[in-house]
């Protein structure tokens, strides 16, 4: 792209600097996240279903 003068060296460097900042923010966002819970995991194996009798199977519903 430099060869066909689509972009300049300056733009290359500017995009690199901007991307570096984006990644820094991404790492901060990620490291600040909560750890997942076992309860949420176990509730996420099946999608909620309108024709599901899981509650019956668990004995929760008579």
């Amino acid at each position: 792209m430099l060869d066909i003068e689509l972009v300049t060296h300056e733009q290359l460097d500017a995009e690199q600097a901007a991307a570096r900042q984006d990644i820094r923010e991404a790492v901060v966002f990620g490291t600040k996240g909560e750890d997942p819970t076992v309860e949420a995991m176990m509730a996420g194996i099946y999608a909620p279903s309108p024709v599901d009798a899981f509650d019956i199977a668990k004995g929760i519903v008579a």
Binding site: Y46, S49, A53, A57
Partner: protein
């Protein structure tokens, strides 16, 4: 008293598919020879004439490809039904069933779900031998993320299929190939069914027989014979083996104090082992007057010889014999 009509298991499945496809443009079927050939067991029959080749799609012999196409279509807004010609051929599609369909909703943190219905005939009795006659339900029930359905009559075959199509998860329906041509009394309108809700097929007081698929029918016939001999058997059909309606089974076991577990699949590591363990772990165990007994297929590949094939899976006489022993000896 609702009006009834007579139809075969295969006809009920066909009507349920037609009903679903007429009501919901997202539903379509794909599989080997489901079009002009009408399906290996005639289940689709003339559906392609009514619904067109877009909705009733003939595929190449590519179980893995078809299953994956079902997964991809389900992920992106469709409600595919994939027909696998014999449940044994699920082995060819295992990656897409077990590693993809079952796990995608979980793996992507709930961003998407896979409302895929897989229909496949299982069971023995046709002389097709070891690669076309297996009962592999336990494999699939062992995989978190899948639901496994085993309809034992025409009404359930239709109602559970319609329930599966409303479910946002992958549901495997193991039909029984010996049932396809059998006729049943069926209500005018297929009743609503829930996945995970079993059914008391026949009430009784002396023992509970839990059976799946064609063994429900054999257990019911056995119960008739047992009644003539003064033994009152309660027959329970779990209908879906995952999720499992264990409370229904436990209540019955507590009432009768004896339980016979009957399946066509081999005994070792089979579904009924799970039921036995569920009973043993529950307070109902304390109500048992006799040890839990399992009557299952022999631990063998299904053989070709008709005599050997019959001997390999529980028949009516076997159920009568085991039930009688359970009641008389304890």
């Amino acid at each position: 008293m609702t009006a009834t009509r007579t139809m075969t298991y295969a006809e009920a499945i066909r009507e349920a598919m037609f009903q679903a496809m007429t009501a919901d443009p997202r539903v379509f079927l794909m599989g080997e020879d489901v079009g002009i050939y009408g399906g290996a067991f005639g289940v689709t029959n003339d559906l392609y004439e009514k619904l067109g080749t877009d909705r009733i799609r003939d595929t190449t012999i590519s179980e893995l490809g078809i299953m994956g196409a079902g997964v991809g279509a389900a992920l992106t807004g469709m409600r595919p039904i994939v027909e696998i010609q014999f449940s044994d051929f699920l082995c060819q599609a295992m990656d897409q069933v077990v590693n993809q369909a079952a796990k995608l909703h979980f793996m992507v943190g709930g961003q998407a779900s896979v409302p895929l219905v897989i229909r496949a005939p299982g069971g023995s009795g046709t002389g097709a031998a070891a690669q076309h006659s297996q009962s592999l339900e336990a494999w699939f029930a062992h995989v978190p993320g899948l639901k496994v359905v085993m309809p034992s009559d025409a009404t359930d075959a239709a109602s559970l299929l319609l329930a599966a199509l409303e479910d946002p998860n992958p549901v495997l329906i193991l039909e029984h190939k010996l049932l396809y041509k059998q006729s049943f009394e069926v209500p005018e309108v297929f009743p609503k069914a829930l996945l995970g809700q079993g059914r008391i097929v026949r009430e009784g007081t002396d023992l509970t027989i839990v059976a799946t698929s064609i063994e429900v029918q054999r257990a019911s016939e056995a119960a008739e014979l047992l009644a003539a001999d003064g033994i009152s058997a309660e027959v329970i059909d779990p209908r879906t083996i995952k999720p499992l309606d264990l409370p229904l089974i436990l209540a019955s076991v507590s009432k009768t104090g004896r339980v016979l577990l009957v399946q066509e699949a081999v005994k070792f590591n089979g579904f009924m082992s799970e039921v036995a363990a569920g009973i043993a772990e529950s307070p109902a165990f304390g109500d048992l007057q006799a040890p839990i007994r399992r009557l299952c297929g022999l631990d063998t590949p299904i053989p070709y010889s008709p005599q050997l094939e019959r001997a390999s899976v529980p028949q009516v006489a076997d159920i009568v014999r085991e039930a009688t022993a359970l009641v008389k000896e304890w």
